[in-house]
């Protein structure tokens, strides 16, 4: 473990002085790599000091340290491939539903407020003998002279003003009843000429759109106007052949990070390649919000014993990829993966998998609970901490 002064000394010892930006963006890799290694502003001693975990007991926890490259050979062909994924979310469009306690409390507070406020001053709001004045008078009479519209049958200025509590089981405070009361009040009772309208002449006001949409009723998981008070997450399906049988894996859109890219650039590229450009999205930050590590399979290690089945499927897919590209490694049978997830928000549009380059065949917009059933367990466990409250 290096102490702070010794790190500074290491900094001074580096003979060639190139600024960090130049060292990073330099295209001549043979020069840039040793330079940047000499100019390190962060602690890397801890990683070197940790011994690599033995292959007999593979780590099960996500947070355990990954197998570090110890020999120079291995650092030439690293044991991990770096991927970047996007967790594209649709934020909730609606506020959450009121709990019964909340609505009851609001009614209680409204009635107390009516008991304590100055009397309603009609002349200030309605000019005398106008249509709106007549309208107000009619409605006020129907409410038994109480100006408040949504407090039920209660007179805060009368003899029974003390009786401001509703009985158990009363539905006066429920949001539906409040909505009905407000809608009934919004209806015009007097025509523009000041004529009182008959009940059949009255025009009902436009009702607000219900919170449950058509997609909710049909449970159409591909539409974005479902579960409007929840966060929705985009997941895509891949089909992998295992022993001549096709198996489906759901996951977030991910792709390999190219050498010249940062994570956020990869993420934007992967999203456009996988789900099309017709989405108004915003990648919230450049910092990953979650990560997932797939341990590499070493020589002589049987993946079925140590890995879960779904993960093995992923390995098979990657192996096929590697064979196709002719990549071989000396020490590792199969390279592991580090997937860094960035968070994205969608504001408009819809995913379109037509002609995507990643072999995705299907997509869904799911809530967190539905994600738990669809995602492989390890993927879910590694991303669940980034989920929002609802």
């Amino acid at each position: 473990m290096l102490s702070a002064p010794s790190r500074g000394a290491a900094l001074l010892r580096s003979s060639q002085r190139v600024c960090l930006q130049c060292a990073r963006t330099s295209t001549t890799i043979t020069r840039a790599a040793p330079l940047a290694a000499g100019r390190r502003y962060f602690a890397s001693a801890e990683a070197v000091a940790t011994p690599p975990p033995s292959s007999q007991t593979p780590p099960t926890q996500q947070q355990t340290r990954t197998k570090t490259a110890t020999s120079p050979q291995q650092s030439q062909s690293p044991a991990y491939r770096i991927k970047s994924g996007i967790i594209l979310t649709r934020p909730p469009l609606l506020t959450r539903e009121q709990t019964p306690f909340e609505s009851a409390f609001y009614l209680y507070q409204k009635r107390l407020n009516e008991r304590l406020t100055a009397p309603f001053r009609k002349d200030f709001y309605f000019k005398k003998d106008t249509a709106s004045d007549l309208d107000w008078k009619i409605k006020l009479k129907e409410r038994h002279g109480v100006p408040a519209k949504d407090i039920g049958r209660y007179n805060p200025r009368g003899r029974m003003a003390w009786n401001d509590e509703v009985l158990t089981g009363s539905t006066t405070s429920s949001p539906e009843n409040v909505l009905e009361a407000l809608l009934a009040d919004a209806e015009a009772r007097v025509s523009e000429d000041g004529e009182i309208m008959a009940p059949e002449e009255r025009v009902p006001v436009e009702r607000p759109v219900p919170r449950k949409t058509e997609a909710d009723e049909k449970n159409d998981v591909r539409r974005l106007d479902r579960a409007l008070d929840r966060t929705l997450y985009l997941v895509v399906k891949r089909e992998v052949e295992v022993g001549g049988k096709k198996e489906a894996i759901w996951g977030f859109p991910t792709g390999l990070v190219h050498t010249e890219e940062g994570l956020h650039e990869t993420t934007a590229r992967v999203l456009a390649e996988a789900a099309g450009v017709n989405m108004n999205t915003w990648i919230v930050g450049r910092v990953p919000v979650a990560h997932q590590i797939v341990q590499p399979i070493e020589k002589g290690e049987k993946p079925e014993e140590s890995k879960e089945k779904l993960f093995y499927l992923e390995y098979l897919k990657e192996q096929a990829d590697l064979k196709a590209r002719g990549v071989k490694s000396e020490q590792v049978e199969e390279r592991g993966e580090k997937i860094f997830y960035l968070k994205g928000r969608i504001m408009a549009g819809q995913a379109d998998l037509k002609g995507n380059k990643h072999g995705y065949t299907d997509f869904q917009w799911l809530t967190q609970e539905e994600l738990k059933e669809v995602l492989p367990e390890k993927t879910f466990k590694s991303v669940r901490n980034m989920f929002d409250l609802r």
Binding site: E102, P119, R223, L224
Partner: protein, 188 residues
């Protein structure tokens, strides 16, 4: 004339009765030895008000008709006068106990909500923290050195400023959805 007098005196009805002293000098304000604040008008004795010319009776000298906006203002002030504002709530023992219970329950509910929210924030922060730590100790892709991706991720070009957050993202949550809840046909 007598009606205006009664109107003027109505506000004074509830004030404690002060015995009229047979005095020719200016009647004094009831003494409040420990008070430093000035006495409100309706607490002063009628003789004092009359002598200072603050009484309504003495003020209404001319009987000219009042302007409508002046009447309007008087009415407004009449509504806001302490006589019309309801008295503070007084509750009996059980009623007050219920009120207190409701109040405590509400505070507890708020606290639970707040703590749940804070827990989520902590979880999210930890998740980001672990991901960043892993990224910092990762070398690659290709031959890029350890932590290079981490440094790129921490760069702040274009993060702040007017174009940092898209304007569509500032949409507030509502109680009921729009007529068309989501624009599925949005095209770039």
């Amino acid at each position: 004339m007598s009606s205006t007098l009664t109107t003027a005196l109505r506000g004074l009805r509830l004030t404690p009765f002060l015995p009229i002293r047979p005095s020719v000098t200016l009647p004094s304000i009831p003494s409040r030895p420990l008070s430093t604040t000035s006495v409100p008008l309706n607490k002063m004795s009628p003789q004092y008000l009359a002598a200072k010319g603050l009484n309504k009776k003495s003020k209404a000298k001319n009987n000219a008709p009042r302007q409508p906006n002046f009447i309007n203002m008087l009415r407004h002030l009449a509504v806001l006068s302490p006589r019309r504002i309801p008295a503070p709530l007084r509750m009996a023992r059980n009623r007050y106990l219920r009120h207190w219970t409701i109040h405590r329950a509400w505070l507890m509910y708020r606290r639970k909500e707040r703590e749940a929210r804070e827990k989520v924030w902590m979880r999210q922060y930890q998740s980001m923290n672990h991901a960043c730590e892993e990224l910092r100790l990762t070398s690659g892709p290709g031959s890029r050195d350890e932590g290079s991706l981490f440094r790129t991720a921490l760069e702040k070009w274009g993060v702040y400023g007017l174009k940092g957050v898209p304007i569509e993202y500032t949409r507030a949550q509502t109680e009921t959805p729009a007529r068309v809840a989501w624009n599925h046909d949005w095209k770039r």
